[in-house]
Symmetry: C2
Subunit: 209 residues, 2 copies
């Protein structure tokens, strides 16, 4: 029997974990194939070869499945690379984001979730949590660069990491321009240069205009 | 009688121009209110107080209306500001983009069109044309900065302008973080700093790795 335990109480490798894995993979496939508006719990259950009742009882809505998928993606994402230099670390981050966005399945999945987030507040919050987790994972490469004396002491780590991803997402979503490895390298170089110049130093509190 | 002339042959101020203006305003309102998937030519005609036949004959599809709306938005957009310094110009650009994205109607409209572009190739092309027009409008502020000796001679102007917008769109669409004037100013400062450091210099042809 399916139990009513949430994702936080999974036994790794148990039946509950296997059901979740199958459902999230099926949801990702469906999202990549026909977007958020085409998502349907019955279709997800069929693709996952899991009983409809289990899916309805455990997740209830497609929005909840997408939220759980984003939680899982954040948990499964690769740990950051440590190269010993700020530019090396940011380039590794940029290349990872770029490869994800140009991957046919992953890229389509992100586009679908971002499109859904423009009109669905729950998905917007789930997506923001995903990016928060990725920012937290990569921010230490900026902290370490500060410790090595590469960057001003009061540099905001998250701002530097955001600056690496932003040009890649802008091309993907807005300008529809090429998104190759050279674009990733340039994003990393620009973020590093701006950070060195102090552009991401935290503003002083109540700074006069 | 409505004629079959395209938007390129409008007499400014004539009936054809007034019909187009009313239809595009109605389409923008509808997009901002309930997104692209809720768009309907009959609803647009009703909102615009224009005959359905005219709207169907002249545009034919909601995708064509959105394409024409983006063309009109590119034409109606404010001309660039000239402040005499790169940082001043980029800050003016960043503030203009930021104000647009936080404006309730305009921000909702952009989100709706970007969401539609993730799954509709025609809308993706129309949106890309809109950004191309904005890049062309603002690129001379970089060219002038090169002429003033503020930037390396082979800086790619469009890359600098993209770098100003990218962090703003990234917050709007991905991370759902605050998007206030200080974020705009920081985007301008980071783009200027990275440009000064040579991060947007055009790569040499066939550059060896």
């Amino acid at each position: 029997m399916a139990t009513n335990t949430g994702p936080g109480t999974l036994r790794p490798g148990g039946r509950t974990a296997r059901v979740r894995e199958a459902v999230l993979r099926a949801a990702g496939d469906a999202l990549a194939e026909h977007g958020f508006t085409g998502l349907d719990l019955g279709d997800i259950a069929r693709r996952a070869d899991v009983g409809r009742t289990t899916v309805y009882r455990r997740w209830g809505t497609v929005t909840a499945v997408v939220a759980d998928l984003l939680t899982d993606m954040a948990e499964q994402s690769l740990p950051r690379t440590e190269t010993g230099s700020l530019l090396g670390d940011l380039r590794a981050n940029a290349r990872l984001v770029q490869r994800t966005l140009v991957d046919p399945r992953q890229g389509a999945l992100f586009k679908a979730v971002i499109a859904a987030a423009t009109s669905d507040p729950d998905t917007r919050r789930s997506l923001a949590r995903f990016y928060r987790a990725r920012l937290d994972e990569w921010s230490p490469c900026v902290t370490q660069a500060i410790e090595r004396g590469e960057l001003p002491a009061d540099t905001d780590p998250a701002e530097v990491i955001r600056a690496v991803s932003a040009p890649l997402y802008y091309r993907l979503l807005a300008t529809d321009e090429p998104l190759d490895a050279s674009v990733a390298d340039r994003a990393a170089e620009a973020a590093a240069a701006a950070a060195r110049a102090g552009a991401y130093v935290r503003p002083a509190e109540a700074k006069p205009e």
